[in-house]
Every structure is written in C-alpha cells, then in structure tokens.
Amino acid sequence: DARMLTTGLDCVAGSGIVLSAEQRAALQSSLPTLQASQRFRAIKLWGRIVALSTEYFIAQAYGSDLLDPTVFYSSDCSVWAQLPRVHPVIVEAASKIAGRFQGDPAHEYSVTQPAPAADAPPLNLPDEVAALRKTVDNMVTTTLTEEMRLAATVSLVDFEVAVVPYRAFRRNPDGTIQACKSFEGLTPLEATKLSSFYHFRRPTNSASESKNPAIDFLDPITNDLPKTSWSLQAERGSELSVLRSLLWPGYVFYHVPESRIFGSFYSGLGTRNNDLVFMLP
C-alpha cells in the first residue's frame, strides 16, 4: 500500500535498498492518483529495475484478484505507463535474454530458441503473439521490446520468488484469495524458519491434500530448488525478519514478527541468477 511505503522502505534499507526523499514524495503523490484513476482497490510499489541508462520503477495495482495485478512502470516515480500483459511464450522467451536492461522501453531483443517438436500440441497463439515469432530452420526467433521484457520479468519474479508469511492469506471456498484478518504475524521463532514462508502465486502443486485447504494452499518455499536459494536473516535483532532471494538478487521480503507488517521490494538488475547452484557453499 502506498500508505505503508515508508515503513516498508525502512525494512529493506539494510539490504541497500533506499529511495530518495524525492522519489518517495513523488510516489506518495502519484500512486494514489494512479489507483484512483482506474478505481483499483489497492496499489503498491513493487520495486525498481535498474537499467543501464535509467531506473524502471514498477507498481502493481489490484482489483479483485490479488494474484492478477495490473502493472505500471515509471522512470521518475511520477508518470506511470501500464505494462502490457505478456503471453507465457513471451515470458519464456524473455527469460532467455541475457544481459542488462537498456533503459529504452522500445529497445528490441531477439531470442532464438529451438522450435517445438513437430508432434507437440499446437500453441494456438494469439495473432499479436504469433506476429512476434518467426520460424527459420526449425528455430524460432522471438522479437520483443524492452517493455515486454519488463513485464515478463515482473511476472517471473512474482512467480518464482514473491513470498508471504504463513497464515497471512486464506483461500475462500470459491477459490479466491484474501488477506486473513486474524493474521497476527509470525512468532519470533517462526520468523527464523524458511518453512514459515510461502510463494504468493497460484499453487503449482495443485494436488496438495492439505488438512486445512483454506490456509495450507500455497507452495512452501522449502520446496524450492536449491533449498538454500534464500537468505533469511534477522535484522536489528529479532525485530525484523528479512528474506532475500538468491535466485533474483534484489528481491527482499520483510516481516516484523508479531505484527501484520510484511511486504517485499525488488531492487535489482532484472536478471535472474542462473549461476545460483554454483554460488552456494
């Protein structure tokens, strides 16, 4: 929430993530305006992707579905543009782009991948997605803009590392997800354990036969591979739990135990750490 911007930023400052007073002031003005302009229920600052010649600030606005935000970007925290929704095949292609964001939303990237096997089921791509793909010699070359890459990166980060504490959300019988009013924060002990944190995404393991499907419906991060793809530290003693992703360095989740204060911020290059398995002790 824009209202909690300062608290949240305080919690990630120890990870080297700060915003200037100018940026914060601009966000405090522009985010509520953005939220109101399209009648979103809530809006939050998602993070910042540092490109070579600029910084892309990312905000997510929510309607009724907490897992399907509308995403905006801005390079000055003031003027926001909506990011396109990108098709999964574009996300997949974007995930293959190596190297830095350039800072020009119109910059074009080309990604060449092997074409799907001939006997694979047809993709049935929408026309505008198909238009981006060109198959030559059994290789598919996808051309996408930096804006698309940005959108893809945000959804990749959300899918791979967005985290919430256990019990903070519940699933209603109709499948919608909502904040759990009775959530009082993790205990200080829980806050020191990776097992208390869950992916905030539609569960990939749908066959979960949990005893309490209203609560235990999210994927635990302890199933992540490698298991140690997180750095969980207590900052300022046990006053604050900080969970840093090693897969997407720059993704920092924070939680004040025994309080409802939690959130996350991404501040990084927008590139996945594909070397993670080698870098762990």
Binding site: L225, P226, K227, T228, N274, D275, V277, F278, L280, P281
Partner: protein, 212 residues
C-alpha cells in the same frame, strides 16, 4: 660359485657383469642374480634361462627404476616403475606395457588409478588432481577421457559424456546442497583480434532438480 673375475676389467666394450645363480646345465643366468648391464644399468632379481623372469629390480643409470615382476625379460605382472621425471607407475604390466589395474603418480602429484591398456589409461579409471583434489572417475580410451565420466570438483560433481578428454554434450552437475542441474557443455569458437580461433567449452545449465 660365480665368475666375477672380469669385474674390474679394462674399459672397453663390455657386456657388463653378472654375479649370481646360473642354470646348472646351460650356465645361462638363472635364479637370483645381480647384473650390471652393458650400458651401466643394474638388475637385481630373478632370472630364468638367461632372461629376467620373476621378481626383480631394474635400476637405470638415469635414475629410473623398475621393481616388480618380469616374464621373459619383459615387465609382466605387478610392478612399480619409477620414471626419470619422478612419476611412478605401480600396477599391472604385460609385455613391458602398463596393462590392467595400475596407479600412476605424475610428477605434479596427480594420480591415475584404474585400468590400463597398451601403456595408456584405458577402461575405468580415476584421475586425481593433486593441486585441487579434483577427480575424474570414469571411462578412458587410449589415455584420454572418453565415454562417461564424473568430475568430482569439491562441493559439486559433473556427470556426463567426455570426448577427447573434454566434457562435451549433455550432462549434469550434482551439488552437495541437494540438487542437480541438467545441461550441456557446448563448444564455442571465438576469434581473437588476429582471427585465431579460440575454442572454449562452456557449460549451459538448464533445469534444476532435486538430487535423488
């Protein structure tokens, strides 16, 4: 019992000296003996019918040494060769060649322990690097890592196909922290400013899975 009268002969063409048992009939060197050969090498060990046969120790003038079994003048059976460069082979010989199980210790301290054929690493064998402790465990062909093998590199291991001693193609890294990464080593050819090709083999990692 031995004719050692010629030992201190004049310097000239020599067939060396021999002191030891001979065949009672043919008088050929036979049984335990000590020989100095024409080139100054020494042999101390068993003979049979004039040929080194059985356990023996051959000392080259250059310092090299073989200690082990002979058969009909050829290193054969278990034996240890101390090469002039300090390397050592300890293992099985056949027809003067390293054949069968053997351990070779290289001058830099590396070792190879495993199967040999035709003097070369061949079959299953483990090569251990002294400096880093790394190991290659796997198939060898004619001295080279060819076939399937595993590189043990401290906290992680690589399992995959090797050819020309290089990992090439699909394989996987297995990490001690409990997961493994499929992928392949791909050959890349870069060109230097002088248009010389620089061939590098580099890892292209793909999916990550839990180690079974």
């Amino acid at each position: 019992m031995s004719d050692n009268e010629s030992d201190d002969g004049q310097r000239g063409p020599s067939i060396g000296t021999y002191e030891g048992e001979r065949h009672p009939e043919t008088m050929a060197r036979h049984g335990r003996g000590v020989a100095t050969l024409a080139n100054g090498d020494n042999y101390e060990g068993m003979y049979e019918n004039g040929q080194r046969h059985g356990k023996g120790s051959y000392q080259f003038v250059n310092g090299a040494r073989y200690v082990g079994e002979y058969s009909q003048n050829k290193k054969h059976g278990q034996g240890t060769f101390y090469y002039p460069d300090g390397s050592i082979y300890e293992g099985s010989w056949a027809e003067d060649l390293r054949v069968g199980q053997g351990k070779y210790t290289y001058p830099n301290g590396d070792t190879y322990e495993g199967e040999w054929a035709n003097n070369l690493r061949h079959g299953k064998g483990t090569y251990t690097y002294a400096k880093t402790g790394a190991q290659y465990v796997g198939d060898w062909k004619q001295g080279l890592r060819v076939g399937n093998g595993e590189l043990v590199l401290g906290k992680f291991r690589y399992q995959g196909a090797f050819s020309d001693s290089q990992p090439i193609g699909d394989g996987k890294f297995i990490f001690s922290h409990g997961c493994e990464q499929q992928g392949s080593f791909v050959v890349q050819e870069n060109r230097t400013a002088d248009d010389d090709a620089i061939i590098t083999v580099s890892w292209a990692g793909k999916s990550i899975a839990a180690t079974r």
